[in-house]
Subunit: 533 residues, 2 copies
């Protein structure tokens, strides 16, 4: 049975263009509050889809950013921030480099904490300078938007949506502390839904389940600390008592960047729409430069190697080890790397400053994909059915790698501890052991067999929110209940009390009856006794 | 902003036909085990969709049935059953009539119980005669089906699927006792998910929540009794210990015939696909007879009145009351009614033995819909934006009516207790109070604004299961946990024990240290004391 091709976004986009040229589609107005980095790269495609359907897209972004640049697809409104491009680049580069820095466990923890603190400070400051930019806010107030489209990993967009009283659509992979579950009232049992950073799968033994529950505990108090500055900012800006959880819970639609081919099956809520693999579009033809390299690779084909946008430079010692490992396979390796060239670079390894990742992975000659395990890359690997060697660096990458490995579609390495031989073995295994190719092919077929392309789905739901001014019919009534009510603890206590009271009364009645009976007996038997005397 | 029309199933069907004519689509084989009555009527459309996509559809059905008849769209395999058409018709007609029979509450309960017992006996006997029909079972075993498509309200189809080791797709509204939640491991909190027969909405006060929990209690023990015969039959037929819950939990995909425009928002699982409104397709032109009646109705338009396929006859006294009420509105009323004509039938009421319900509801002259509140009819009312007067009779119809009423799109009447005036008032209100039309129009717009037509979605998922031999990647790991593990009670007990033990040991250590300190003090102070002496 041949799978029916899923409708391609290109069709919708072309139709949209046609409609907008003919003036048939009366467009809406979308305000986009993006998050910098890879978050922005994956969001951009939805914006192009919206523009193609005839909507006006306005992006507000800081003047200093990593990737957010003006484009023909949208109107860009920039606002000043109190740091320079250099300061920003340095902060983010440091985060990438820190992964490879040596030191004791405690030193590493302290460094990571400082890194997170610095980047968080930049994001918070950016948010403050957006919200307190009076001129920009006045423009936004006057613009009468139909929807706000934002990534809630930073809640600035939702604070703005509250202020403008405009319904919002969220676009996300996850929010730290599992806030996306709380804010959607989505059940999230720790018995089979693995927590971030635990390295657990959905099938856990007793000790793994204990670990899973323990990893949940910090969420109850540590996360409040993390999000407190935003709750404070929101309360000040909106001039009312506001918590982050309450604000996030007002989102109309949550576009979740995963599907259950990659993620372990678990409950979802009606206003959560799964759009995993949204970035994996039809490949474009390779440029002459890359085409030539791929064609020259012969029967062995190529390996694509990239550690993502955050890491382009690694310590020379590690680079030499990696180069050694790459030299041990007959494939041509295309390595995205901007650091100093290792002196032992083998002939089969081509260093490039940038590579068209999806188009290369889509090439039939590609045999393996060495990746840091960012969700964007992992989905491109799944979509194009390329077995992976995963070298997770930070954030959810460890968990992403675990998911791929647990499905037999790749192998995970610890980039700090691995030897050259470990890497060589892993690479050879995923290329030569047919099991890996078979597993990733099966995942790919499941992933691609969908009734509608995720990009069309995302555009549909943004338009839905614009057309209907939100989606209140998808908001569960659970939001109106407190913890005790939600779990029916008050009802259970009441029913228990009723049962116990009934038992008590019955018991007392019985006792009373018994006593009366005994008393009567006693009274009637006494004279009998006296008679017998 | 004009809503983009959702892709229509006709397109897919035409494409499928084209493909199958060209021999491009290699079709699969689907075994359909239907449930009689309205269940079959709504399932038939999916079968036509599958046939149009080039699949071979085989329906197994008893020789005696209410609606299941051969068609060009599928191969029909019939098997003998030990009752006649007359006996069957009588049993089902009696169920319809019972609603109107007078008597004390206890008498009515006993009659309802007997009615349910009789129809259950017919269904169980039908199932036994299917499973133990050796010739038919041999044919089915040899046929090598790719999927079983069945309504799990009667689990016969799934027992067969287990025997044939073929993945199954379920097509349902609900299963008694909320078994669909247990069998999918779908969380179903009684605090905001109203239980069947409670008359509750998703927003409940304390007493309503108590009622909701109380209505859950029978599920724990009564349902076992109801389903025991099927568990027994399954164990015997499959020659292994089998419970109904375990068998049902093996279904690959659950096509749920509702959406969250009608149903209250609540958690869903990855293998549940919502296809509410699947039966509401584009209207066909009316026949000359109906066209004439509708056109003659003038500016006041028409009212459509049907109590569904189960009830066509009602007691004369009630019929006269209803006729009186219908005479009080200026609209022409089309009443599906096969009983004796009430002598007071007003001029504006036309009795018909059958009516094209969806096509009439779709007519712009239709002002209201009087219905018993079957989910099929309610969705046709929502789809065509016609305000409703609901007169629920049995089953989930009370709950359906409550849902429509709670959204301000209709009014509910108790058909037994209502007076002629009550009905007249209700009808006039939904027609003349603009609020009802506005609310049903809003619901209709939300319901119809979907990225893909539910029929296409249903066909896609049946094909998905055929192509991939099931959908094991959508099966939650929760199925492998028992109740204690699922709720992490063992983990909580363990952690509590650890905490208590640590506290106890710390306490003991402290006590020990204190004692030693005191003792030392005592020892060192004593000589000092003696010195001073």
């Amino acid at each position: 049975m041949a799978p029916v091709p899923a409708s391609h976004p290109q069709v919708a986009v072309t139709l949209g263009l046609l409609l907008s040229v003919l003036g048939l589609a009366a467009g809406g107005k979308v305000l986009v509050v993006p998050v910098d980095g890879s978050h922005w790269l994956s969001m951009r495609e939805v914006l192009e889809g919206l523009k193609a359907k005839g909507h006006e897209v306005v992006v507000v972004a800081p003047e200093v950013s990593l990737y957010i640049k003006p484009s023909k697809s949208f109107i860009m409104k920039m606002y000043p921030v109190p740091f320079t491009q250099e300061e920003m680049d340095t902060t983010f580069q440091r985060t990438g480099q820190q992964v490879f820095e040596e030191g004791t466990f405690l030193e590493r923890i302290v460094k990571t904490y400082e890194g997170v603190k610095n980047t968080s400070a930049i994001f918070l400051s950016t948010c403050e300078h957006l919200l307190y930019n009076k001129e920009l806010i006045r423009y936004l107030e006057e613009s009468k938007f139909d929807a706000v489209f934002t990534d809630p990993i930073l809640p600035c967009g939702q604070i703005l949506a509250e202020h403008l009283s405009v319904p919002s659509v969220f676009y996300l992979q996850l929010i730290p502390c599992g806030l996306e579950f709380e804010a959607t009232q989505c059940p999230n049992p720790p018995s089979y839904v693995p927590r971030v950073f635990t390295d657990n799968t959905d099938r856990m033994n007793f000790l793994q389940r204990v670990k899973n529950v323990i990893f949940d505990i910090p969420n109850f108090f540590l996360c409040d600390v993390v999000f407190q500055p935003y709750s404070k900012l929101a309360s000040e800006f909106l001039q009312r008592d506001a918590t982050l959880l309450e604000i996030l819970s007002h989102a109309s639609i949550w576009l979740m960047k995963y599907d259950f081919v990659f993620e372990y099956p678990r409950p979802v809520m009606p206003n959560m729409v799964l759009i995993g693999g949204i970035s994996c579009t039809q490949e474009k033809p390779l440029s002459k430069e890359f085409e030539a390299i791929v064609n020259a690779s012969g029967e062995h084909g190529i390996v694509v190697f990239s550690l993502g946008s955050m890491v382009s430079d690694i310590p020379m010692k590690k680079a030499r080890e990696i180069a050694d490992a790459l030299g041990s396979v007959p494939q041509t390796v295309l390595w995205r790397y901007t650091g100093k060239v290792p002196s032992n670079l083998p002939q089969n390894v081509k260093l490039v400053k940038w590579l068209p990742q999806n188009d290369l992975l889509a090439h039939p000659k590609t045999r393996a994909f060495i990746t840091h395990g960012g969700s964007h890359g992992v989905y491109e690997g799944i979509c194009n059915a390329v077995p992976m060697v995963l070298m997770p660096l930070f954030g959810d990458q460890m968990d992403n790698a675990k998911r791929v490995e647990s499905r037999g579609a790749g192998l995970t390495l610890n980039i700090l501890e691995m030897t050259s031989e470990d890497m060589s073995n892993a690479l050879k295994t995923v290329i030569n052991d047919k099991k890996y190719k078979e597993n990733i092919k099966r995942l790919s077929e499941l992933h691609l067999d969908r009734p509608i392309h995720p990009l069309d789905l995302a555009v549909h739901w943004v338009e839905f929110v614009m057309r209907h001014k939100g989606a209140p019919h998808l908001r569960p009534a659970a939001h109106d209940l407190n913890w005790i009510q939600y779990h029916s603890l008050d009802v259970i206590a009441f029913l228990l009390a009723v049962v116990l009271l009934s038992l008590f009364i019955s018991f007392k009645c019985c006792m009373f009856c018994c006593r009366r009976c005994c008393f009567k007996k006693g009274r009637t038997s006494k004279p009998a006794k006296s008679k017998s005397h």
